[in-house]
Amino acid sequence: MKRLRIARCGTQLLAPSAPRRPSCPCTAAFQRNSTPHNHRRSLTVQATAQLPDGETRHDIAASEELSEEPLKRAHSQARRHPPEALPSPHPRSAKQSAKLAALRSRLSLPSRFPLETLARTLVHPSADPDPAFNNASLSSLGSSLLSYYTTEHLFCNYPRLPIDIVFAAQYAYIGPKALATIASEWGIEAAAHPGGEVDPGLLQFLRLRSGEQLPPALRRRTPYKWNLTKTHRILVSDEFGSTSAEPNPEDLAKKPVPLEEAAQSFVRALVGSLHLHLGSPLVKRFFRDHFLSRQLDLASLFDFRHPTRDLSRLCAREGFEAPVARLISESGRLSRHPVFVVGVYSGKDKLGEGAGSSLDEARVRAAAAALKAWYLYKPLDVTVPSSTEGGVGAEAWKPNMIDCGEVIV
């Protein structure tokens, strides 16, 4: 059945056309700057290139009129570089992305934080090697910020923590697995394959297919030294005390990486971009809300080899009386499941108590409990070093306790 064509034979049935709106004095200028839809995309490409430093797309309306020449050039460029050919979405598509806007409001970030920067933090160097479009430099800054804030939190709140535990606690708070978990909690989804046509609100990185090997930069990690001591680790290694260096972003360009690596770089880049756009007070609040709010049981990170020997040396160093283990109570000594409760005493003071199914086990547990009580000492109220930055907080400053170090056996 043939379709009726309204335009040809039914124009008298249509509603009368609306009367022409009175012409506005600035219509001419408006028509000069606003272009038909299919030319708008190519126009903004050329416009951004022509504008002087610092101006963005929003300044197009205020700039002088654009001639026909750059319009034709921009249009041909768009035909040569369709979105699918770009390695990552064009910055202008950030404003149209619902995912980015939703992410910004989900993280309670102020609206003056640009969506274009948020889009940039989601682009891993494996998707786009250009450092002006990926998150490598932002990630480097964010990594320094995160490790600084975590370190000062741990050192001020737990001044006697051994350096091994510090490494482990840093890994627990801001390590790659923790950051990947945080990214998934924030609702970050990954694009199946990076490209200019994907939604800018997706995490873009070259995905590792299942069964595929890691890229050489992540696989062959040469250690710093063959006999890396803890002190040297502090000097050359990262905040987790890793035995080898992290790969450079250039080595990961266009190489498939695991999701953990991309998520870690996104979270770090986000913190870095927050610092640059919004300033350090907001970054500190963000860190407190999203990272420090995670619960970590520091006592479970300890693993003593010879706690009795360590405790004895510690008492000798601090000048306490030599520790002595005494049986506090016991039950079922000749049965199948005896329980012995042993306390370690220095003079009249009980340093620690432990229960075990043998006398030795209880004694060792008591010594470990005593060492944990020493190492996990926590002052009541502390002021962290970053609280004095910017000249504020000088009157509330309280010098932190500095411990001489863990006992060396």
Binding site: V45, A49, D53, E55, T56, Q77, P114, E116, T117, A132, A136, S137, L138, S140, L141, S144, S147, T151, E152, C156, I163, T231, H232, L235, N248, L276, H277, T308, R309, R313, R317, E318, G319, E321, V324, A325, R326, L327, I328, G343, V344, S346, D349, K350, L351, L359, R363, A367, T383, P385, E389, G391, W397, P399, M401, I402, D403, C404, G405, I408
Partner: protein, 264 residues
């Protein structure tokens, strides 16, 4: 109620193991650590160890804890000359004045002043060491170096159109980001760049450490020890005086000699 008889005497150190069981006079070193024990020890003047009376008032940095010293040295002395370590507070204060400014010796408290320049190799770590301070100091220097690279005047370049015909998004806050590359960052925080700065302040004369070979300090890793001390001083200032003071010291005394200037 705990039993009077000890379960098994834990391994105690040299002096008390060799002699008959006796009450050892408790030494309270003046440190920032609070004393753990609250009970007063019973004192037997007849068997009191002589040197303990002298060591009572001396600070932790000045002496090894008495009960950690064995009465007899069992290993032979190492070959080569002995390495002499500074024990003069005057020389240490001079170094701090050189590094931290005119009243530099007042910035840190007494114990912490010595702790910041004591390496773990010194006295087997019995008088404390600067590992933890160096960890914090390195984090501060790393952050300040990143910010210096972002704020450096060479970093502010005009964005160019790339091969795909796109220009990056520009914003005044992101202006200096091209200056922060991994090569630039790695090249700043190198031991061979920090050690000469430490030597300039005289840290090599006051750092307390034990080189493997006293006649070849370079091969014994002096550069690493000096860099550790430098970081540790920064960390100590941050913990005792706050981040603002520490950041200023890093910018003026460590990064500026390396050529990294702060425009903002």
């Amino acid at each position: 109620m705990a039993s009077r008889r000890p379960l098994r005497t834990l391994i105690s150190t040299g002096p008390s193991a060799l002699r008959a069981p006796q009450r050892v006079r408790r030494v309270i070193p003046e440190t920032s650590a609070c004393a753990f024990s609250t009970s007063a020890p019973t004192r037997d003047p007849a068997t009191e160890i002589q040197y303990e009376a002298q060591s009572q008032a001396r600070p932790r940095w000045q002496q090894t804890p008495a009960r950690m010293i064995a009465p007899v040295r069992t290993r032979p002395l190492p070959k080569g000359p002995q390495f002499k370590v500074n024990d003069s507070p005057v020389k240490l204060d001079e170094m701090y004045n050189r590094m931290l400014g005119p009243d530099g010796y007042k910035v840190l408290s007494d114990e912490v002043k010595w702790l910041a320049v004591t390496h773990k190799s010194f006295d087997h770590g019995r008088r404390g060491f600067n590992d933890r301070l160096a960890f914090l100091g390195r984090r501060i220097v790393s952050l300040q170096a990143s910010l210096a690279l972002i704020n450096s005047p060479q970093a502010k370049t005009t964005p160019e159109v790339d091969e795909y015909g796109r220009t990056p998004y520009t914003h005044p806050a992101l202006a200096g980001l091209p200056g922060l590359t991994s090569e630039a960052k790695d090249s700043v925080m190198q031991i061979w760049r920090l050690a000469p700065i430490a030597q300039r302040y005289g840290l090599d004369k006051v750092t307390r450490w034990k080189p493997r070979k006293a006649d070849d300090l370079e091969a014994s890793g002096q550069n690493a020890v000096l860099a550790t001390s430098l970081y540790a001083i920064v960390g100590a200032v941050a913990l005792e005086r706050g981040g603002e003071v520490a950041n200023k010291i890093v910018q003026e005394k460590i990064l500026a000699p390396m050529g990294l200037t702060f425009s903002g």
